[in-house]
């Protein structure tokens, strides 16, 4: 696997509260993401959404700092949701968390204005660092 890290935040931890919206069509995966994010005392998961349409609506209403966004979802996929959220709520940064371990898909995500990209199988290692990075408007990418 080619690996490229676009942002490294390990030495630059931020202590400001970060409000996060978690979007995935599988409730069990949302639980898993919440558990990983729960490691960070200053972060708050403000809500969850189960597809792109719900994500766009909740991002509009809640204006989270970070949206953790799956790509493959019913009704509206993550790339489309990413574009709309960035257009409607420019202050919300998008972290894509996906099963697609593909540099091409990562490029598509960045073209859609995502700030970070994490492959689900690496989430245990990368998710916290990635949220930390994108919450500070830094890029984070692994694929």
């Amino acid at each position: 696997m080619n690996s490229s890290r676009l942002g490294d935040v390990r030495d630059n931890k931020k202590s400001m509260p970060v409000r996060i919206l978690v979007v995935d069509d599988h409730p069990v995966v949302r639980h898993g993401i919440r558990t990983l994010l729960g490691r960070h005392a200053d972060w708050e998961v403000v809500d969850e959404a189960e597809d792109g349409v719900e994500a766009v609506e909740k991002a509009d209403r809640l204006r989270p700092d970070v949206v953790v966004l799956d790509l493959s979802m019913p009704r509206m996929n993550g790339l489309e949701a990413c574009r709309l959220i960035r257009k409607n709520v420019p202050e919300s940064e998008i972290l894509i968390v996906t099963q697609h371990n593909s540099p091409q898909m990562m490029r598509e995500a960045f073209k859609a204005n995502a700030k970070g990209y994490v492959v689900k199988s690496d989430a245990g290692r990368d998710l916290v660092d990635a949220v930390d990075a994108v919450s500070q408007h830094k890029f984070f990418g692994h694929a």
Binding site: V28, H31, I33, G124
Partner: protein, 232 residues
Amino acid sequence: MKLRILIADDHELVRRGLAALLLSHEGWEVCGDAKDGREAVDKARQLKPDVVILDVGMPNLNGLAATRQLMQHDPNVKVIVLTITDSDQVIREALDAGARGFVLKSDAARDLVTAVEAVQRNRMFFTPRVNDMVLAGFLDRRENGGTTESPKLPKLTPREREVIQLLAEGKSSKEVASLLNLSTKTAETHRSNIMRKLGIHSIRDLVVYAVKNDIIQVQVPSRTDPAQGPAA
């Protein structure tokens, strides 16, 4: 005494999500987790859990083959199978293998705790959607005088099922031999026997067979999957 549960899924996010769900229930503990069927079988031997929750689509040894091995080693262990598919064949194979519960992953947040409670009381549990299918299949058989048998697949031994999964995942005979502690020659013999029994002549056909029969699972892109085509 706490109910001890072992979780096996190849995705850490799912393992963590399942653990969070189960730990919200008083009196249960997650005694271990595993990222494939082989590790699940090894850990179950060491940790002796009361309940094992197994994903079907795992690498190296899938959840159905792992269920067979677990039941062979300890017939009292209660296995709940988690799956993304509710195909008849997977349900049938899970039951044949000795699973006591069958939960669709998409329904796990709602049904998993109920499933564990059921098997804890020595009952079986099926996600409601699956329950309807099992009942429909049962009624079909009764209406047809019990003659509607499911299509018979060529009989593969448990070892051959392990070998076909590893070959379909792209491993060479040498790698199969190493993973299963066999000689390369024995692994090649298994490969020849599998191909002869299935009447197939190439690895490509073997992969097709493995996918069609849920021995390995591949992600089928949905209409809203951005990987399906140009960026949506």
